[in-house]
Amino acid sequence: MTHARSKYSRGTPSGGTLLDTARIRADFPILNRQVNGRTLIYLDNAATSQKPRHVIQSIVDYYERYNANVHRGVHTLSVEATDVYEEARRKVARFINAPSEKSVIWTRNTSEAINLIAYSWGDANVGEGDNIVTTAMEHHSDIVPWQQLARRKGAQVRYIPVGRQGALDMAVARNLIDRRTKLVAAMHASNVLGTINPVGELALIAHAVGALMLVDGAQSVPSMPVDVQALGCDFLAFSAHKMCGPTGIGVLYGREDVMERMQPWMFGGDMISEVTYEGAKWNDLPYKFEAGTPNIADAIATGAAVDYLDELGMGNVWAHEQALGAYALERFKELEEFHVMGPRDPGLRGGLVSFFHDTVHPHDLGQALDRMGIAIRTGHHCAMPLVRGHGIAAAARASFYIYNTEAEIDALIDGLKDAAGYFARK
């Protein structure tokens, strides 16, 4: 893949491409914050990213200058709000190369987008004896909705196993996906292992047996170019808060012809075209799936977040993340008693590193790093079955984004050395 050079990127001596972090960092007010007397080093981006001033300001602008409900009024403010709100939807559609903005539904987050499919599509299309195939590395939000659907319908959930190198076992996947498979649901990028999964290949296998393909893009859409048409997926779910956008809003992309046939799962205002005392007719896509006043401010801010990332160029963002991921993997080799999870080949993974120590618990490591102003994630990462499969109950994770630097990774490594020394059993 070639990357358009944005004014924010530059080459690195090591050959990777890093973004111009000095310039980017100036856009993120929170990065000046002091934590326990140190300048914050924020390495918990896979949980949620920080927000640039431009995104924060877009929310303020909406509330201060054109706050009004959308799709409902002829007055100026409502027209303006509707324009910016719908433009944000078009920006998101372009961002993931959706053929039409009609297939972009606003939800609260990735989890709600997946639940929408489980109820609206799943209840109508999955029956007794059918199966849903997902993976053993999935986030809870791409496991539990399918377990519940299977329970409602007498169907089965199957898990594509993860090999020792942190990759899906595609040979087993081909056996698991059979004539009774209705849906294959898989994460594009793992929030624990960092693995990039071959979801395009899974989509082909799914379609060959007449099943649909859902991609959990919560970790990929913020980090790499994602093109729903190139992937060939039928559904894509992601959250704005992990990609410079606000909390409280996410996206479900769905193939238009599939969603035309789906029934709404929530009912009320906006999602109808006509209501009588006897019943109602559903509105067109995308509104059919958006009952009630939407999260206008955060949709607008999601549009601003997409603008920000477009300006950087997603190819550049991905190159930056991979370069940092590779650098971190290399530095971790110095650390005795620490074990990195996931693929060893940096080319197969994104910008995060999960790890554990022989004896020191991740919470203690995280607590010690916090003293140094370094924020990492510790715990089960909403992937209990996966983490337990590694024979541990919890792991620590450092995840990188557009504003992180190699110097911050150096600080992490030094901090981990100190922390391990502090707790080591004598």
């Binding site: 618990h361 919470h363 010690a368 003293r371 983490v387 502090y422 004598k426």
Partner: protein, 152 residues
């Protein structure tokens, strides 16, 4: 280590010592109660065993497990506070430890009764870690209930 300044507020020396060298961690043979608890959120695990004498008072204890320094040191400190106590006495200690961790006022005499465990009171300032500190004590509460039922 200069960079870890302030961490001692949570991990006092005595706490780290109990974490590194847990007391009474050898399993008992034929214990009166044998309880395992875990905190799935952190993955901390504690196994607690008690033996009692004819008078129903604790005569031997074992706590073993794996997890963070707070959960494991709290378990070790627990083993120093249960000897000679009957079920009611155990319940009383559990209640007192809960009050300490939650930041309720604790009298000087009560603090004395807790011995080295008072070193864990720094946990109060780290709300997410209170659950870690209390894990072993939830096992002790369950153990006390079992002892009561056994006595009936």
């Amino acid at each position: 280590m200069q960079s870890l300044e302030g961490l001692d507020e949570l991990y006092e020396q005595i706490v780290l010592d109990h974490y590194r060298n847990p007391r009474h961690s050898d399993l008992l043979t034929s214990p009166a109660v044998d309880i395992e608890v875990n905190n799935p959120f952190c993955g901390d695990e504690i196994r607690l065993q008690l033996k009692t004498g004819d008078d129903g008072r604790v005569s031997a204890v074992s706590v073993a497990g794996r997890g963070c320094a707070i959960s494991q040191s709290s378990g070790s400190l627990l083993t120093e506070l249960v000897h000679g106590k009957d079920a009611a006495g155990l319940h009383g200690t559990v209640t007192l430890v809960r009050r300490l961790m939650k930041g309720d006022p604790v009298s000087e005499a009560e603090m004395d009764a807790l011995g080295d465990l008072s070193a864990l009171s720094g946990v109060r300032k780290f709300p997410v870690r209170i659950k870690c500190a209390l894990l072993a004590w939830s096992a002790l509460e369950e153990a006390a209930e079992k002892l009561e039922q056994g006595a009936k």
